[in-house]
């Protein structure tokens, strides 16, 4: 009987656990709650050859109907998208490549050309990593708008576990 009770409890706990967010689903809300307009998709972990130059591709998604300025906006007053990374010991970030933006203009002001990202975009980070596990914790700074409204700049936490083999 005790074994049967244990089995029922075990299955109930398992079912309860399945109803909650799984690790790869929870990553979508990392640090931003419902206020973030951009989400870090993946990778949570990257394995590269230790001591050799490598590239880590970071995938992001912008909420439907919104755009953010590219890394090279066409007007001085606009806030560009940036990756703010602190180099942990054993990691050297040589450069981060940002994609080119797409042309966009607000419907109410078609003469003002903007350079923006929408949908998904990928940043390529060039790194050299020492042997072992390294937690790279940074932030994506961006400023989002839709066709009629702009939202204050926000910082999205971005964490990647980089393993040098």
């Amino acid at each position: 009987m005790r074994l049967v009770t244990a089995a029922v409890t075990f299955v109930a706990l398992l079912a309860g656990g399945a109803a909650q967010k799984l690790p790869w689903q929870a990553a979508d809300d990392a640090g931003g709650g419902g206020q973030q307009k951009v989400h870090f998709l993946y990778p949570q972990q990257a394995t590269v050859a230790a001591g050799k130059a490598a590239t880590v591709e970071m995938h992001f998604r912008i909420n439907e109907g919104l755009h953010i300025n590219s890394h090279a906006p066409l007007q001085k007053s606009l806030i560009r998208t940036e990756l703010i990374e602190a180099e942990p010991q054993g990691v050297h970030i040589a450069a981060v490549d940002f994609p080119a933006g797409s042309d966009y203009a607000f419907p109410a002001d078609p003469s003002q050309k903007l350079s923006v990202y929408s949908g998904e975009f990928v940043l390529r980070m060039h790194v050299t990593v020492g042997r072992g596990d390294h937690l790279l914790a940074g932030q994506l700074r961006y400023q989002a708008c839709d066709d009629h409204t702009c939202f204050p700049p926000r910082n999205l936490p971005v964490s990647i576990d980089i393993v040098g083999n």
Partner: protein
């Protein structure tokens, strides 16, 4: 022994079923996400240089928006903020006059469309006592004098370039929180008694803005008239 075996077999089956359900669930979510992203592409305005085919700013403004502040119908929260010259400006100083308070930012594209409308409307309704206050929500590094100087200069340059003919104040987080500002532009239309009679979040059509200004002018006038009549 046989019962133990059966229980263990049930547990193993349950675990296998849960893992299978998890994998199927994950695949379904991934498929749904992929489908959602395919339909989530932003519609960009064609950059064909044909001015004649472009919608007017008024047509393109958020005509169907229903965004309004939860402060509508309430007394406007008080504030005292500095202008670009460092002078303190209090909302209380404007009591008795219809007022527009517009929260904007230099990095806000729709705000640049709206600001020239306010300049013209300010002139148009000056005879009826209309006042407009612009509140810049640009970030200010108040602990770093060098950065603060540059940031204030950038705002002043923007104000000058846009020929803003009404006072511009430097926003503060506490004030923006109190007014519930999380999107730009956000505009409040306040009557002579300090009550918010309308608000717009995001770029509203020019005729909606003008209508809200008239509402602010009329609302205060009526109530003042009634009070005046009652006092006589």
């Amino acid at each position: 022994m046989k019962r133990t075996f059966l229980v263990l077999a049930a547990m193993v089956t349950a675990v296998v079923l849960m893992i299978a359900a998890g994998v199927i669930n994950f695949e379904k979510r991934r498929e749904a996400e992929r489908a959602r992203m395919q339909g989530a592409q932003l519609t960009l305005v064609p950059d064909n240089g044909q001015a004649g085919s472009s919608p007017s700013a008024d047509d393109a403004a958020g005509g169907d928006m229903e965004n309004a502040s939860s402060l509508d119908g309430k007394v406007a929260p008080t504030f005292t903020l500095a202008d670009l010259n460092g002078n303190k400006v209090s909302l209380a100083n404007y009591k008795g006059r219809p007022l527009v308070v517009d929260f904007w930012a230099t990095w806000c594209g729709p705000c640049k469309v709206e600001i020239p409308w306010f300049e013209k409307l300010h002139d148009q309704y000056a005879g009826q006592g209309l006042e407009i206050l612009g509140v810049s929500t640009d970030d200010l590094d108040r602990d770093d004098p060098a950065k603060l100087f540059t940031q204030k200069r950038d705002i002043a340059d923007f104000v000058s370039k846009m020929h803003m003919n009404y006072p511009v104040l430097l926003g503060e987080d506490a004030v923006e929180d109190k007014w519930g500002i999380d999107a730009m532009p956000t505009t409040f239309f306040i009557d002579r008694n300090g009550k918010i009679v309308a608000s717009t979040i995001g770029l509203a059509p020019r005729d909606v803005i003008e209508s809200d200004i008239r509402k602010a002018i009329a609302s205060g006038q009526q109530e003042s008239g009634v009070k005046l009549g009652a006092g006589l």
